[in-house]
């Protein structure tokens, strides 16, 4: 475990993609089976054991540390695993009593014990390991055991590092991946040239998605509109919906853009796919919540995300829907080499044939030139779902489906954000990279109150600033705190003092949850206006004028 912990620690501090790849490939080449296979499984999120709940870890630490001190520490560090790793008291007994072989446990040993352990064994097991490991080991173990191993490495990157053992492409691993299980001895044997390519048994495999480039100034000059097809860019999440059959049995699967199998969270879609008797396909589309034919806000979709199980009520209130825009395979045929226009024609025919309520086609946009696209991007003429449109997608009619982000084939052109000047009102410490700094900011705009102009909060932002600006904001909050409510600091703001933040956001909705009556979508700090007096920040009326007309 200590070697794996060292790897994770170095990965967490290594900024460059190449550096991370070097570290992982080096680890895979130095460590033997099954340790490296377990590491690959951990890095790709493929380990299956009952994760320890944060509550269990809290209970363990609160038996050992004053709960109030734990709470203050957690608020500061912003990460449960790291807080506990740092706070864990030095073991009174010799570490030899803890590990099975009399020293710090190996990763494979931990995974193996966890897979056998019952719920009631977990606290004792975990406490013993925490006593035996050093601070980095404790941190890595807690990250692993809570299922929150975030060291800036995607499953894709870990597979790329493994592929480099045998000078292979990550897509080659991707194609066989779903038939494999940890600790992947066959995979490593193949990569090191000691064994055959593992056979994929999966009839419904994930296919690495094709991504678009953002349109920057001048990108479209010299491109002919006639070579492109346009469609709306939907504000949902990218999914692959697959229906396959094997041995007379139907299989339906939904994958996220990163290849994660998210079928379990969408039984309504899975049931719909399963009912399409005889059809076999893999399509690419947007996962949305559609109620009475209208696409709901991203907030509604969020209710459905990251759930292992869903209630009938949640399904009824937030019905999931796939809006398809590409067809990757149909029956026996892999269509990815075919041009987009051909795939699109087959997709249209398939959707029409299936005629399923939870599946429809992302419509093509008619346009004559780039000016039309520029206008539609800002004012979609798709009236019913305009609020769910983020911009437009442009796809070359002759483009094959190439995994990754190939140059010049697909483009995305987003709507430009709106901007207002608001005043910083409250701050809280953040999490992750921003933890221990005051970095979650609530901001407000002016409105008429009983005693003259007053600030009313209109949103929260926690990104958009540079690291140096974050330190400056943290300092500003600490120097200008006028009151504290638990972890929340009230920052001095009024006519004579206060910090103006230029806030950019994607859209505005009416909201009964907010006192101001408006809710921003994706607000972020575009600029810090150290120079601007708070009294010159915007008024609520400015925001109200931006609301969509009902």
């Amino acid at each position: 475990m200590n070697r794996f912990a060292e790897l994770l620690d170095r990965l967490a501090f290594e900024p460059s993609r190449n550096g991370k790849l070097r570290l992982m490939t080096d680890y895979f080449s130095r460590r033997g089976d099954p340790e490296r296979g377990m590491a690959l499984a951990a890095l790709t999120g493929s380990l299956v054991f009952a994760h320890a709940k944060p509550g269990l870890i809290r209970a363990l630490i609160e038996e050992r540390v004053d709960p109030a001190l734990f709470r203050l520490s957690y608020d500061y560090v912003g990460d449960l695993s790291e807080t506990v790793a740092l706070l864990w008291p030095r073991a009174a007994q010799a570490p030899a009593e803890a590990g099975e072989q009399g020293f710090a446990p190996t990763l494979a040993e931990i995974v193996e014990r966890l897979s056998r352990a019952g719920k009631r064994d977990l606290p004792g097991l975990l406490a013993g390991w925490l006593d035996a490991l050093d601070e980095t080991g404790r941190w890595a173990l807690l990250k692993l055991i809570t299922g929150s191993l975030r060291v800036g490495v995607s499953a894709r990157l870990a597979k790329t590092a493994a592929a480099a053992l045998g000078a292979r492409e990550p897509d080659e691993i991707e194609e066989v991946w779903h038939g494999l299980s940890p600790p992947y001895p066959d995979l490593f044997a193949w990569l090191e040239g000691r064994g055959p390519r593992p056979q994929t048994q999966d009839p419904a495999p994930f296919r690495a998605p094709m991504l678009a480039h953002p349109v920057e100034a001048g990108d479209l000059d010299g491109l002919s509109p006639a070579d492109f097809s346009a469609e709306w860019k939907w504000d949902g999440i990218r999914v692959q919906a697959i229906r396959a059959e094997q041995g007379g049995r139907a299989i339906a699967r939904l994958y996220s853009r990163a290849g994660e199998d998210i079928s379990a969270g969408f039984p309504d879609l899975v049931a719909s796919l399963l009912s399409m008797s005889g059809a076999r396909f893999a399509l690419d589309g947007e996962l949305l919540v559609v109620r009475a034919g209208a696409v709901q806000s991203f907030g509604a979709l969020q209710q459905r995300l990251n759930r292992k199980s869903v209630s009938a009520r949640l399904i009824a209130e937030h019905p999931a829907h796939v809006r398809a825009y590409d067809l990757l395979a149909e029956d026996e045929a892999d269509l990815r080499e075919r041009p987009f226009c051909e795939r699109r024609a087959r997709l249209e025919a398939l959707i029409a044939r299936l005629d399923a309520p939870a599946l429809d086609l992302s419509p093509a946009i008619a346009f004559a030139g780039w000016d039309d696209i520029a206008r539609l991007r800002l004012e979609p003429d798709h009236a019913r779902d305009a609020a769910a449109i983020e911009g437009v997608m442009l796809k070359r009619l002759d483009s094959p489906y190439v995994p990754g982000r190939p140059k010049g084939l697909w483009w995305k052109w987003k709507r430009d954000p709106h901007v207002v000047d608001a005043v910083l009102m409250y701050a809280q410490r953040g999490h992750g990279k921003r933890s221990s700094y005051y970095s979650d900011f609530t901001f407000g705009v002016w409105r008429d109150g009983a005693a003259g102009a007053e600030l009313t909060p209109v949103g929260k932002a926690y990104f958009g600033f540079t690291d140096a600006e974050l330190r400056a904001l943290d300092r500003y909050v600490r120097d200008n705190t006028v009151e504290r409510f638990g972890p929340v600091r009230v920052v001095g703001a009024g006519a004579g003092r206060g910090l103006v933040l230029e806030i950019a956001f994607e859209g505005l909705n009416r909201s009964t949850r907010h006192k101001s009556g408006v809710a921003m979508r994706f607000p972020r700090i575009a600029r810090i206006r150290w120079d601007k007096p708070a009294s010159e920040a915007d008024r609520l009326a400015t925001l109200e004028a931006m609301l969509p007309q009902v």
Partner: protein
């Protein structure tokens, strides 16, 4: 008698009415007692300053000879009477010349710690525990997550990395007063006998340490050094210089940062640090608690840092604890341009 009769937390810093002086005032004051030379504690423009000889020297280096109307150097432990109060300065172990302020008045003893640490430091005198009724403690690392590992072990990590990446320069961000010289002295202790390269902003203070008797070995200017010589070299610079154009002269530099904050991953990542070195000139949690107990104080005031946790801990020990919430301390020589802008 109340502690508040002797000491009052004011916006300018701690004020002592029976002596009519401030301790580490943030704004120009008629009479000031200064604990140590960090820029958040030692400011220019006071009428009269009482401090240790090294602290006065350091202030003169930073602000010029006329930094105060009058100065008086206090020898360690020597009593000076200011108004009705007997004042003496005692080593705090933080940086060279750093002192605690002991005030005795009508049988009441109050100690203002300034910044302090208990870990060994070859560049300054060790902290001297003092008995008192009121202890005013710093709390920069006043959370139990802060447990500084032995500083020598951290420097050994740096030496090992410099051996492993022999083609890369190791840029070590360190505060120019105290931390920089301590890292250099620790490098010598760890057996690093090659030249240590130095950013220009640290030359004068380092020269002062050497002239004052601190052995640092072969220290050279980084500016103008041969690029080939800098491969595998260790270079000490202010933290802010690591992001500046200055850093680009070095071959494929490894960003290191020597600070107690490096104990928290997010702090290291946030600064783009690749090799965090947990080396602090402030007491860690265990040292803070042990020191408070050792003073035998019945009242504890807490200033700059994580005041709430230490106040909670002290209350559970039956001490009367009060967070002072003084604003303006705690960014010692960070040299952080953005932070200074916002504070202005």
């Amino acid at each position: 008698m109340r502690a508040e009769d002797l000491l009052i937390p004011a916006a300018e810093g701690l004020y002592c009415p029976p002596g009519d002086f401030f301790i580490d005032p943030l704004r120009p004051a008629a009479r000031a007692v200064v604990t140590h030379g960090h820029s958040d504690h030692a400011r220019a423009g006071h009428g009269a300053v009482l401090a240790t000889r090294p602290t006065l020297d350091i202030m003169a280096i930073r602000y010029g000879a006329g930094f105060a109307g009058a100065t008086q150097a206090a020898a360690p432990g020597a009593v000076t009477r200011i108004g009705e109060v007997e004042v003496s300065l005692h080593p705090a172990g933080h940086v060279r010349g750093s002192a605690q302020v002991l005030m005795q008045w009508r049988g009441f003893r109050a100690v203002v710690s300034g910044d302090y640490k208990r870990a060994a430091d070859p560049t300054c005198a060790p902290f001297e525990p003092l008995r008192c009724d009121l202890f005013v403690s710093e709390a920069t690392f006043g959370l139990p997550v802060f447990r500084h590992p032995p500083a020598l072990r951290e420097v050994e990590k740096l030496v090992a990395s410099a051996a492993l990446f022999a083609e890369r320069a190791h840029l070590v961000g360190a505060y120019p007063l105290g931390k920089a010289q301590r890292v250099m002295a620790l490098l010598r202790e760890a057996g690093w006998d090659r030249p240590i390269y130095l950013h220009g902003a640290m030359e004068r203070l380092t020269e002062y340490y050497r002239a004052d008797g601190v052995e640092l070995g072969d220290v050279r200017k980084a500016t103008g050094a041969d690029r080939a010589a800098l491969a595998g070299a260790i270079v000490i610079c202010p933290p802010s210089a690591m992001q500046e154009a200055w850093a680009r002269r070095f071959p494929d530099p490894v960003a290191c940062f020597a600070s107690g904050w490096m104990r928290v991953r997010a702090r290291a990542r946030q600064r783009g640090v690749e090799l965090p070195l947990v080396i602090s000139d402030h007491a860690d949690w265990d040292e803070l608690c042990a020191t408070i107990v050792e003073t035998g104080c019945s009242q504890l005031w807490i200033t700059h840092g994580e005041e709430d946790a230490l106040a909670h801990w002290a209350t559970t020990r039956g001490l009367a604890a009060r967070p002072l919430r003084l604003v303006g301390y705690g960014e010692e020589d960070a040299g952080d341009g953005a932070a200074q802008e916002s504070a202005a």
